[in-house]
Amino acid sequence: MIEAYVPILLFLLVAIGFAIFTLIVSSLIQSSRYNKVKLEPYECGIEPVTDARDRYSVRYYLIAMLFVIFDVETVFMFPWAVIMDELALFGLIEMLVFLFILVLGYVYAWRKGALEWA
């Protein structure tokens, strides 16, 4: 079975090689003239005053945490879905219990306002 993954490794190497190769080729044939203003970050023509890496909304952080929780729980369902034929009713009830707990957490996050954006 492991042989099936060899082409993926090859593809990975080819893709990385392609990206680096095009960057090198283009850097060899492009024209480039030094100009101080050209190297400034874009800010609608105004000289940037502060560093761009400022504080940002905590909501992004919250979304990231919710993502980690829900994504792990979703991936947990994948093996169950594949062998559902063998598990039959027992597997269904097990998963309904699991989904119930998942939905409980989801409702809690909703009630707490974690899913609100504004």
């Binding site: 082409p7 993926i8 080819v14 979304i63 369902m77 504004a118």
Partner: protein, 332 residues
């Protein structure tokens, strides 16, 4: 040696070139279709009806000066487009374009899981691009883009669970074979899942109406505002390659991949005269066209609307779909 290295390598090179050509002509198609939707002609100057525009654009991008802003983090600034493009290309290794072994690079038993996990690596490219630019608009756009991508990824991944329930396998070839056995494309068995994956796919590829990371009116050029030349081209390639992957996955999961319509009806056997890969590309083209059509038609969402749709509408429907599919699977 020949079977494990040389033949896959040849397939990979053919596939890579096919993807690159598809992307360049995809940009032309998009410009033309949107132009027609707006009663314009679109590109007309380069070649007959502007057909050679697709070749002129990459040449221009290679020759353009590639600027690294003075404040940027030089190493991450170059790493970001590579990190964005490589996963978008590697995913093609498990996409089967036909039933014969000739038409896919490899078939692994966790194909769908591989596609989900590898495409999500692309988020790193986006967030690194915004961070490394050290400019305000790209940073805001990359935050938005990553929050959007991970929100919709949950909805799409959950929806795919119900498709796996129906198919009973994760292998991409196996999923199409399961549709051949049941004689029904899963689009008819799982219509709700199809709509969810289509909406999620639009959001995952930052396409209109979910193109907030590139909302020109608010964020100028999005997370690649500071990029130019070849590094910009790599981002562009990644974006369109992702779009092609999504349409291929939708075709395989819901519309029978390389199967002809009604694969079990003997009376329609004459349709087998058309080779499977033509069916495949025909179906893919319909969805690519649909993506462009949607972009030309629908206005953009507001960010809070986008988050509400992802978290409060799509996820509950996806969970309900899993339960309904599971109950039906056990009862029938």
């Amino acid at each position: 040696m020949l079977d494990t290295i040389v033949i896959p390598l040849l397939k990979i090179l053919v596939l890579l070139n096919a993807v690159l050509v598809a992307v360049t002509f995809m940009t032309l198609l998009e410009r033309k279709v949107i132009a027609w939707a707006q009663s314009r002609l679109g590109p007309m100057r380069v070649g007959p009806y502007g057909v050679l525009q697709a070749i002129a654009d990459p040449i221009k991008l290679i020759l353009k000066e590639d600027i690294t802003p003075a404040r940027a983090d030089r190493m991450l600034f170059t790493l970001a487009p590579i990190l964005s493009l490589v996963p978008a290309l590697v995913v093609f290794s498990v996409v089967p374009f036909g039933g014969d072994e000739l038409f896919y690079v490899t078939d692994i038993n966790v194909g769908l899981l591989f596609i989900i996990s590898v495409t999500s690596i692309g988020v790193y490219g986006i967030i690194l691009a915004g961070w490394a630019s050290n400019s305000k608009y790209p940073l805001l756009a990359s935050l938005r883009a990553s929050a959007q991508l991970i929100s919709y990824e949950i909805a799409v991944t959950m929806t795919l669970v119900s498709v796996i329930l129906t198919a009973g396998t994760l292998s991409m070839v196996g999923i199409v074979e399961a549709q051949q056995e049941s004689g029904l494309w899963f689009g008819f068995v799982q219509p709700v899942a199809f709509v969810l994956v289509l909406i999620g796919g639009l959001a995952e590829t930052n396409r209109a109406p979910f193109d907030l990371p590139e909302a020109e009116q608010e964020l100028t050029g999005g997370f690649h505002t500071e990029y130019s030349g070849m590094r910009f081209a790599l981002f562009f390639l990644a974006e369109y390659a992702n779009m092609i992957v999504i349409t291929a996955v939708v075709t395989i999961l819901f519309w029978g991949g390389w199967l002809r319509p009604f694969p079990n009806v003997e009376a329609l056997a004459f349709l087998d005269l058309v080779p499977g890969w033509i069916w495949f590309f025909g179906k893919m083209f319909v969805f690519l066209y649909l993506f462009i059509w949607i972009r030309a038609t629908l206005p953009r969402y507001r960010y809070d609307q986008l988050m509400r749709l992802g978290w409060k509408v799509l996820i509950p429907i996806a969970i309900a779909n899993i339960v309904v599919t599971g109950v039906f699977k056990v009862l029938l």
